[in-house]
Amino acid sequence: MVKLRKLKIVGLILLVIAAILCLGIFGFSCVSGMTPIGWSGGTVANNILYVGSMEGRLVSINLADQSRQWAETLKLPAQGGIFGSCSSMLSCGGGTSRVPIYGTPVVSDDLVYLAGYNGRIYAYNTTNLASRWIYPRDGYLSSFVGSLIIDQGKLYVGCSDGWIYCLDAITGDFISGYQTGDKIWGTPTIADNTLLIGSFDKTIYAFNTSDLTLKWTYTTEGSIIAKPLVYNGVVYIGSFDKSMYAINLADGTLKWKYDGATNWYWTQPLVVNNMLYAANLDGYMYVLDIETGSPIKVFDNTEILSVSAIASQPVAFENYVFFANHDGIIYKIDTTTQTITQLAALTGTITSPLIVYEGNIYFQTQDIVIQSVNIENGAVASISLISG
């Protein structure tokens, strides 16, 4: 009986400790998405696809023979003391032991550029992926989540420290910068010598690309992470206030606002056949009149069989719009008939942007694989990005 009591006490202590450990490991890390993994999309130049893999390195894939090259692994900023390494151990799948890459690589001339979650911008030679320059050369900035953009020899990128950085694309030297009121996780757009970018401070900023001086701002009621789209002198951008905005590029005045969605706009809208296609995290695709913002069509749960968040950047090709959702389903919308069909179904979520190249859609999935889906028949093929 005494032995039984002893066992009970020991068991109780073990149970409490086990509960706390479960709480720590599963409750904080995996369940709630505390671990950054990355969702870099691909860029194709000269039949070579460049992508920032979830292993934390730039990969180039020759689409002709599927041969791959890997750049050097991005380095993590030093984590202080034993606790940095402990938090790595406690996170799911060792996610924090490698540098997540969210931005899509950009190719310009003979260089390919990449911004990492470690707070560094990298330039590599396109041929052998050898490092050309790193910014900053010493230390790290805050995390980069959005993609960068190259225009007239200058590189522009928004950072989590709220700054927009303008660097010399050839040398990586700092040219100018501008600090917004909060984090920037969005990607800039350039049109008519105007750089547009949204910030967590709920504002869209328009700058002169020449010297990064402010032209105008427009404040919405929610944070902005989506990339702006410029079409016929109008800026189209979605916000976390569940609204899609059309703003005149020239002076920043509001043209129209559509607030029929029920969740955040996470991705850049598309214009096809004079209609605006705006994907929302509520899982619906909204088709709006670009002149008035009135809804023409909403692809909702009556037409989308598996409704889940659309966080992956949709893509347009000819008269079709392709989009993927959180459930791993890829849909194809015929913009002439406004009909939707399911192109392919994958296991696992899709958050990486879609690109179309030579009849295939390419995107990265969380198993560190580039998936290609044929836009005609939905045939799926995959190329591993795992090094070694």
Partner: protein, 302 residues
């Protein structure tokens, strides 16, 4: 969303965001207020737990008597202890059971704090699934993670230390002192292990959680104090004096000096420890005794 997320996690997360919005987007204040609200909601359970522990404490002298009486016969001792628990209406496993019942609520609260913090892009994307279609919720995200100059999305050493200290005080106050060396050793282990474990975890995770733990400990400390006083934190009470016996009380150092000059005027109440000390010969006594010996020796020599 699954049932757990729908019933527990989603409402908690949205409430946290709304509170944060009401207090000017201050996430730290939101965590503090939500922790207090949840603690108040769980008050009946917590009070039951504290009362049960208090009853256990009251039983300690009787348990000690049983230990003395049946110390050699372990089986009989266990039987008598169980009988005593039954008669007094105390369930020894009750405290732990109540703690385990509260666990799911704590887990949900932890997850809501982490979710609402949305420190990494995946977290922010994940958060979108949990939001109610209230305009205030959508426009409040992302929340400002700064509180008193601390980034609640990052680990913070000061908060981690506060978590450890707060939990130690709470553990110490709620620990029932035991005459059984094994139980005392287990209590001692829990008093140190839990704070160390939580402090270690606080150093590894977003400090928003550490703030939650610290406020939670503070709430429990106040509650425990209101119910049972300082509990295990209090110094041991002096043992009861027996009528008709004389004791010597030793005042602190200064009084001891007086002892040398005037023994007659000393106050006569003390505790066990002081009594022991009093039985040892003082410095002056030894000196006199030695001198006396010498005198005797001298006489003998003569």
């Amino acid at each position: 969303l699954n049932v757990w997320e729908l019933i527990i996690q989603q409402p908690l997360t949205n409430v946290l965001i709304v509170i944060s919005h009401v207090f000017g987007g201050n996430f730290g204040v939101a965590i503090i207020i939500l922790t207090i609200i949840v603690n108040l909601a769980l008050l009946p359970l917590t009070l039951g737990q504290i009362k049960s522990a208090k009853k256990m404490q009251e039983l300690q002298p009787k348990l000690a008597d049983l230990q003395k009486k049946f110390g050699k016969d372990r089986q009989r001792l266990a039987q008598e202890q169980m009988k005593l628990y039954k008669e007094s209406g105390v369930k020894p496993a009750g405290c732990a059971l109540q703690m385990l019942i509260q666990m799911p609520v704590w887990i949900a609260l932890y997850q809501s704090v982490v979710l609402a913090l949305a420190a990494v892009p995946e977290g922010l994307l994940n958060l979108a699934r949990y939001l109610y279609p209230w305009p205030v919720v959508f426009s409040s995200i992302p929340l400002n993670p700064y509180f008193l100059g601390m980034d609640l999305a990052q680990p913070n050493m000061i908060l981690a230390v506060l978590v450890g200290v707060g939990m130690w005080v709470q553990q110490k106050m709620s620990t029932v002192p035991s005459d059984d060396p094994r139980t005392a050793s287990q209590n001692q282990m829990m008093t140190w292990m839990m704070p160390l474990l939580f402090a270690f975890m606080a150093m590894s995770f977003a400090s928003g959680l550490a703030l939650y733990w610290f406020v939670n400990s503070l709430f429990r400390i106040i509650l425990q104090y209101r119910m049972t006083g300082w509990g295990g934190l209090r110094r041991q009470k002096p043992v009861d004096t027996e009528a008709g016996k004389k004791y010597i009380k030793f005042e602190p150092t200064e009084s001891k000096k007086m002892t040398i000059r005037d023994k007659e005027g000393q106050v006569i109440i003390t505790d066990k420890e002081s009594l022991k000390k009093s039985q040892k010969p003082g410095f002056l006594d030894r000196f006199k005794f030695t001198k006396g010996n010498d005198q005797d020796n001298q006489d003998q020599e003569k």
